[in-house]
Symmetry: C2
Subunit: 262 residues, 2 copies
Amino acid sequence: MTGTVETGRTVSGRPVTVSGPACRDCPLRALDLFINHTPEELELVQSLKRGNVRLGPDQSLIREGQTDAPLFTLTEGWAFRYKTLRDGRRQILSFLLAGDFIGVQQKMSDAAAHGVDTLTDAVFCVFQRDAVWDLHRRSPTMGFNVTWLTAHEESLVDDTLLSVGRRSAEERIATLLILLFKRAAALQADAGAGGVPFPLTQQHIADGLGLSLVHTNKTLRKLEKRGLHRISNGRLYMRDVRALARLADLYGDGRPAQRPLV
Amino acid sequence: MTGTVETGRTVSGRPVTVSGPACRDCPLRALDLFINHTPEELELVQSLKRGNVRLGPDQSLIREGQTDAPLFTLTEGWAFRYKTLRDGRRQILSFLLAGDFIGVQQKMSDAAAHGVDTLTDAVFCVFQRDAVWDLHRRSPTMGFNVTWLTAHEESLVDDTLLSVGRRSAEERIATLLILLFKRAAALQADAGAGGVPFPLTQQHIADGLGLSLVHTNKTLRKLEKRGLHRISNGRLYMRDVRALARLADLYGDGRPAQRPLV
DNA sequence: CGACGTGTTGATCTCTCTCAATTAGAGTGG
DNA sequence: CCACTCTAATTGAGAGAGATCAACACGTCG
């Protein structure tokens, strides 16, 4: 640990520091959820890395409409991507957990960009703007990984769109709980017995599923009373996965293939 | 034109042929919507190309759940990606127009795959399964393009998710019309005066927006009566873009950056 | 000519939204 | 330790956008 050294850069009002582990020591690499990169690949990533940003809960990493944001990887904590309409209606597009890549869409898109806010204390790795291109140019493998991550991210949005478009409130919530539980559980060594961290408020759930806050609350309550799950103290406990899965009508239980960590 | 020669391969019951133009002569290249590729890049793509598939309207290119599909580029016609629930509820994830790339998500995703059906007569270029990897390995530029296309595709889904999650039926339809009109207009030389091709049935619109068929019909009717648009004989005419845009609450008019054609 | 797919329209019905209050907890200052 | 404040969670009541059900019109096609 190098001690916190500021780089002079700034992201959403927070200084970008060079503290934090080198890519080689990235805590995420310990999880066998992620594929192993070669020393050369790690060095490449390291060379594109500009530092870290730490944010508290409910802070904005990227503002909607901002098109010049750098690239990030979420290293610790939770965040989410969202879009809003002018009158304030908000739709959360996806939830971001450790290992997720942020900002590829921003640079590529003709459409207005999305915002990114944190849910918890969070640490991001910051990469220079054209890191995506450099990665492709200097390492086909890493370039391929970026494509993989982007495609994977899209498939998450596809799933949400199916929910929001065609599932009832109960079904949407069951689906969300299962999917988030899986993602969160995959990130912790001691899988699932004592539940997983769950930092969303009911407002976030509502905005992620296209529901109103009130109806979200009532539906959540109903499922909890039926003994399907339990949320307390920022943790989610699955009580009856079978019943939830039946509601959600999910295919397979899709153990994810090993995914690249950038 | 080489005359139709079958390759012995088959996709959704249709033979894969080597007819059709070489990449060098791809009609899409004529549109300045797409960036210009070098001869080397074209040759690379050509070497990965396995042939063409032609399908009529309402045919299935990729079935839901199919995970071993090759990669495609849509060259002519319209198609769409979708997912369904077991009881038949269907959500269309995105509409595909000439130039769209199909199948990157399939290989990358842990989630169940989506299906792809045609709306019109359509021609697809077929690429071998690991073309994505070869593209990355042999040309960083083309690899980058694949990432670009994937990210761009995701941003379309993001927009739809915002609609389905947070817009009213009227607003959703206005948004869809504007967005599809733009995409279709960009593909035809004689821009927009006489409308653009519009091969969707109301059922497709409904499934793309998370609405029922009946309500879609009534809303469409209402907008048409107010003089905002007109659909007839498979063509869409914009009558009052301002009013539609006001309903849709769209940001900017986002002329897309030149996009790669694979 | 009957069958079928697509588009229309009217009449209910209901899921979900909106409005309004109340409760529970965490944090703050005195 | 208590009053005060703020945010998140709850709950009830009434309203409404959109779903479902049922017919019917129209054009195409074998």
